[in-house]
Symmetry: C2
Subunit: 198 residues, 2 copies
């Protein structure tokens, strides 16, 4: 398969590339490195990426930014950070990218455990992840030509505990390779409309 | 209790007022009728409503608009209709309204079955409802002074089947009074961070 991995330079993106590259042709996309550059919060950047890449068999996103902060300091503008980037960035990857997928192709989006298991400072991340998980369930029943879509919803990563550990006390971190395996299941399996809780 | 019902002129809003008005003082808010006017997609309108209403014991929202249409016709702009109105309208009711709630007060927001049980044409509604349900879980652990928050997530209403029936084939509609009961549980009970599936 020809697989486009967006956010390929990140911790998760690198793990997904490691998992898939021995079996497939990988096109890497990132904001400032990789085979093609893309900023997912910019719809024109998404369109330019798809125009450059051409037809592929799978589109996997491992990128997405949200604002973390206390609910008492949260504002409509701070909520927009995650809505524009992790949420609508990935929704636009689907809306704009369906035509770039071959029949039977797939989208794999990144959600996260805060959709259902919240932490302090995480209200925006929860909102964005919950939106993505429900969008995936809905889009799955309307995508044409056998195209599939799943969300990967991981716990905090072992590899990210140095930075994120204080915010995720009591959470059992998972190796990023486990989340990469879920991308493999989404891309190489036959399921659709699923949320893989890792 | 003094209870602010937003969207009070709608099918659900009227049912919530019927359920609560024999026991409580109700302040009704709607776009063009009621004790106070509000357009929840306009944050200044929300602020003006709270300034006029003063302190209350419960804020219940029964209003929220989303765009329905095929995924193939969906665009970032059409997605924004629901994000600005039903999603961020209600999130802003919380962010801007916490200071207007007395200690131990509550927010009750409207979500819907499409968060987890999708229909064709409903991808935006699913996204918005999923976002709201996860936001409620997250906000519940950060709200101060014993303030609670729950989401009411109803099936299609018996009373709305004439208009919505064709889109919800096979769904078992519920009386709007059942959803109004869930608002009573949210407001008069002690639970928080819950999604009441009706």
């Amino acid at each position: 398969m020809k697989i486009l991995v967006i956010g390929a330079s990140g911790t998760l993106g690198q793990a997904v590339v490691r998992e898939l590259s021995s079996r497939h042709d990988i096109i890497t996309a990132s904001r400032s490195s990789g085979d093609v550059n893309v900023d997912i919060k910019d719809i024109d950047s998404i369109r330019a990426m798809y125009a450059k890449v051409g037809k592929v068999d799978a589109i996997a996103c491992t990128a997405g930014k949200v604002h973390f902060g206390p609910l008492s300091d949260m504002t409509a503008d701070l909520m927009q950070v995650g809505i524009k980037d992790k949420l609508m960035g990935q929704v636009n990857l689907v809306l704009e990218g369906t035509a770039s997928l071959n029949d039977g192709g797939s989208f794999s989006l990144i959600s996260g455990i805060l959709a259902y298991d919240p932490i302090r400072l995480g209200s925006s991340a929860s909102l964005v992840n919950g939106a993505l998980e429900s969008f995936v369930k809905a889009a799955a029943i309307e995508l044409p030509r056998g195209i599939r879509i799943n969300a990967i919803s991981p716990n905090v990563f072992v590899e990210s505990m140095e930075g994120y550990g204080p915010f995720f006390r009591g959470f059992k971190p998972v190796p990023v390779a486990d989340a990469a395996l879920a991308y493999s299941k989404s891309i190489e399996g036959g399921q659709t409309g699923q949320v893989y809780k890792i």
